[in-house]
Symmetry: C2
Subunit: 382 residues, 2 copies
């Protein structure tokens, strides 16, 4: 019986994690759940999974939640609440599924408490990969990726050492605008972008797929997760998103992980690793799919990807600044304040103005993040 | 330093094995080489790799070979010579790359002598899988597949247990006639078949690809190698032969092994397992290839495949009879004695007449083989 806590239990990854757990009641118990403001759903989850501790964002929400809970469930809130769910339970494994920089401190606390980490929060490794990986090594815990691309690479490696690897190849659908030239991107709207073909995702990540900023963040994550230099991490456009990623070994053998898009597969693998349990995903039928297609990645076409590589290679606070500037820029695009191609302009300008701090601690990372957001918000059309 | 002996050193797999070894002189030493009649090449190999023992088919060839060898190389011949190279050296690993039933007894002898086996001989497992796997288990040695499909499955499994596997999917190019209907197969000639697109192979295996008898033999091999029932072994047509095979796990995650067709990759992996060494194959470039295609397998279209499944499920001497009847039938087709579609007629009739012996020993297997060959040779147009 593996004991699990979840940060972000009412979000997309959180609810799918609980779906996986509900299918294997003999294998998993829920120790703690932390959510944002969705009190009703959190209460329902608490009644079904009987965690010992739950947490919400504010004290007011905590008060609202209490009467809806079964007897004996302790209620926490705020940053301290997150830390309690992350590190203050008997959980063996923490699923970090909160969005944004909120996940960083509790994830570090969980690692220091010796817990395995199933990581579904991009910002954690992008902004503080050096701190996280150092804590992982010191505490000898496993860091299990939940993102479909990183889970794919993790499964393809299956314990083979980094020295055997020639490169890893992250696949990218190419996003909503993959069939347009750069010239044809001038007038595109948020609505155009939100018709993304393969995965049903939130608005932010859909825009990130169209700009490839998303793939850039994944490249930086892969660098930390698999201990490989950026020169050994490639991106390949694969519109069907059936091959989730690949590893080319030094003997030129390529191992790929495939499947129908279903986040429950990588979530479950992170929970069950190194074992595998039966899963609810639809089996892959390649004969029915007929063909898998591939196109080279073009960093000219996708400058956000190039900037992510550059920031990743630069290190220090650069990736945190890339991430923060991108988040604000996408938000401004979704609100209709700026055009699609302004996203890359904003990121480029913020990066350009940033004085990178090497080997930053948590405070320096958070300061760089705030600074970059301010810069990105203040950006005006030239 | 791993010590290696090779049965069939002057054939296609044998020479490629020595090519791999020559690229890693720090990793491998050659203990013994056995060849058929290619005295000149064997002598050259002996001068380059300095084995302690070599063997040829006949005493006369042994006499011819002696003066061409460096001092100190012992020369053997015939069945005893094969056994000496297989089991009578200090080799840690035996590469069984002889063609046909010749490989069976020496491979068993090597297993009993505690040697790892890199198996490139189909007949060994097809005809005597129960004996081989029993010896492998008793002697706790590794059986490493060299065939590209089985090496692919072995790499995809990478130590994961059979209980985690939903099915293995062997890919098949579909052979020379994959775009013809059964009706269009009536008049095809050996020359038509020998223009096979992906791998440059011998005539026998090219015909076996066109009839799918080859894939049938691989299905039976996979059954023994990976300990899976035939219901969990599928065949999928994949004309490009880039995905060499796949494993679908119970969680619906599919792991595939890909690469440009180059037998040195699986050969080297069998030698270097569990490590990987740099290899000479051309790296896979999927963006350049553009697309990978798949079609369902149709057992009506390929009755030889269906017969192989049936014989595999029946067990006993049935697979040996399938293999022997097929070999003779293909030989008769290549000589122009029979039509392409008679190959399946011959196999069907021989199988039909055979009284299967369960759990046969080596003698019973060899007797069934001889009987089936006789039957297949005597088959006349109705």
């Amino acid at each position: 019986m593996k004991k699990v806590s979840i940060l972000g239990s009412t979000g997309s990854i959180g609810t799918q994690t609980l779906d996986v757990i509900s299918r294997h009641p003999e294998a998993y118990a829920v120790e703690g759940l932390a959510a944002g403001g969705n009190i009703r759903l959190l209460a329902e989850q608490a009644r079904q999974f009987r965690p010992k501790k739950v947490s919400v964002s504010t004290e007011r929400q905590a008060q609202e939640l209490k009467p809806l809970l079964p007897a004996g469930v302790e209620v926490f809130f705020g940053e301290q609440g997150l830390a309690e769910i992350a590190a203050g339970t008997d959980a063996d494994l923490l699923v970090t599924a909160v969005v944004g920089s909120l996940g960083l401190r509790p994830t570090l606390a969980a690692i220091e408490a010796g817990k395995q980490i199933a990581l579904a929060n991009k910002e954690t490794l992008v902004t503080a990969g050096h701190l996280i990986m150092d804590a992982i090594r010191r505490n000898r815990v496993s860091l299990l990726p939940v993102d479909s691309e990183h889970s794919a690479v993790f499964q393809c490696l299956n314990g083979e050492p980094a020295e055997s690897v020639a490169k890893i190849i992250l696949t990218a659908s190419g996003g909503a605008f993959r069939d347009r030239t750069r010239d044809q991107l001038t007038g595109v709207t948020a609505e155009d972008a939100l018709r993304h073909p393969n995965w049903s995702m939130g608005a932010k990540i859909t825009i990130d797929s169209a700009t490839m900023a998303n793939k850039g963040l994944e490249v930086i994550e892969a660098h930390w997760l698999f201990g490989l230099p950026f020169e050994q991490i490639e991106v390949l456009i694969h519109p069907e998103s059936i091959i989730h990623s690949m590893v080319e070994f030094k003997d030129r053998s390529v191992i790929a992980q495939l499947g129908n898009p279903d986040m429950r597969v990588p979530i479950q693998y992170a929970l069950s690793y190194p074992d595998r349990l039966p899963g609810p995903a639809r089996p892959l039928n390649l004969a029915e799919i007929g063909s898998l297609n591939f196109r080279p990645m073009d960093q000219q076409r996708y400058p956000c990807l190039k900037m992510a590589y550059d920031c990743g290679k630069r290190g220090g606070t650069a990736p945190a600044v890339f991430n923060a500037a991108n988040e604000v820029a996408v938000d401004r695009f979704l609100r209709g304040e700026i055009a699609f191609l302004h996203i890359e302009d904003i990121i480029a300008q913020v990066i350009d103005r940033h004085a990178v701090i090497d080997s930053p601690g948590l405070d320096a990372i958070e300061e760089a993040d705030r600074w970059a957001r301010r810069q990105a918000r203040e950006w005006r059309l030239p």
